[in-house]
């Protein structure tokens, strides 16, 4: 009666949803976070203030609340999003705020002399950022970005409240139906595998971008 292979297949499907949310959020929120950090550092006070408020709201309220808000409030004002889009929307806006703060700290940690050297060589501000500052920032932000990325893997489980069948929700459904804890154990192993692979990938990236260090 109890079919472990079947359980496994169901959970693999759930993992697909989890990975989908994870990867799309990551691909969207990292560049968005970078843009937001540049706006946050803008000399135009209005822009930097607005961005500061945005970051404050995103980091100061639960991600769960933000998910529910997007899911229930937006349809009330006539914006109808699919479950997946709603989830991606909330995740991206939330994670972009965290990434923005990481990038901001990274950018601010670069010595002023780097900007001055670039300037005296005639480089424009966009050139300086793109060619001199950001490559160094990447190296410095990789460890905190790695942390946030691993958090994101686990945070994807929050979408169970939107009735989406991610890894954790599938596991819970089976547990409730079969009165068997195995799916939870399998889910734990799946999460561990994902975070292990990520940790390993980030190690490779750190080694690649850190090759200029002593």
């Amino acid at each position: 009666m109890h079919n472990i292979a079947n359980t496994f297949m169901l959970m693999l499907e759930g993992t697909q949803t989890t990975l989908q949310i994870f990867s799309i959020t990551l691909i969207l929120s990292i560049p968005l976070g970078l843009l937001i950090s540049l706006a946050r550092l803008s000399p135009l006070r209005l822009i930097s203030r607005l961005v500061e408020i945005y970051i404050w709201i995103m980091r100061g309220t639960p991600l769960m609340l933000q998910l529910l808000f997007v899911y229930f409030a937006l349809p009330m004002v006539g914006i109808k999003l699919s479950d997946l889009t709603a989830a991606l929307f909330a995740f991206t806006l939330n994670y972009a705020a965290y990434f923005a703060e990481i990038f901001r700290a990274g950018i601010q940690s670069i010595n002023r002399g780097q900007y001055e050297a670039a300037k005296t060589l005639g480089m424009s501000y966009p050139q300086t950022m793109q060619r001199i500052i950001l490559p160094q920032v990447i190296r410095r932000v990789l460890p905190p970005i790695s942390n946030e990325t691993i958090n994101l893997v686990k945070d994807t489980s929050l979408i169970y409240i939107l009735a989406m069948n991610d890894l954790l929700r599938v596991a819970r459904t089976i547990v409730q139906r079969e009165f068997d804890m195995t799916p939870f154990v399998i889910a734990a192993v799946f999460y561990l595998v994902m975070t292990f692979v990520l940790t390993w990938l980030f190690k490779l990236l750190e080694a690649h971008y850190g090759k200029y260090e002593v």
Binding site: Q114, E116, T120, L121, G122, M123, Q136, R139, K211
Partner: protein
Amino acid sequence: MENDIIIQMKNIRKSFAGVPVLKGIDLTVKKSEVLAVIGPSGSGKSTLLRCLNNLETIDDGSIQVKGDYLVQSRQGRAVYADKDTQKKILGYMGMVFQQFNLFPHMTVLDNLLEAPVHVKNMKKAEVLPVAEELLRKISLFDKKDAYPSRLSGGQQQRVAIARALCMAPDIMLFDEPTSALDPELTIGVLNTMRQLAQEHMTMIVVTHEMGFAHDVANNVIFMADGGIVEQGDSQQFFGNPKEERTKLFLHSMLK
């Protein structure tokens, strides 16, 4: 005679948060001149160089380089040239910093190629021989593929000089190029600068190396409290300083 003048700074005034740091400096540099700027800490030497190089903006005065005005005084206020003119003028000058400021994520060779390729839009193949020749000149050709962190401070500073030279400037500005170095590492850097002087590069050198100022510089300026206390031809300046303050300073430096 007039044509020989390459830099003319007049009545440069600069304050930081209301505190005057440059109090009306006049300065003329001729083509191929090596000018040493000396003076106690906080006297405004770095600020003077940084104003010339547009790393700081001045409050009043005028700066002319190779006949072009970077900034002009109008009714007691400094009015800057348009962005394109500024860019052109800044291209006349290369700068070497106390802290080297090499780009750590690029190899030595890429540090040299960066600006010619991405600012002047030159072909890499075109710049490469120039860059390699410069590296040979500073005896660091064998380090061309190394990252700056693998070099000694003295080697890094020589690369920084080569990086600035790779843009083919008419004037080189040095802000205490050897102050961050251990004494035994200063020699290589000073020799590189000496060689540049022999090749008739126009140079302004802020320095605490009195030997270098005495032997290499044609003229010396002694600054204190945001003003020029004494200036003159280096033999005369060191041989027979006139101001009491200069004498005291030189005396303290010899100790």
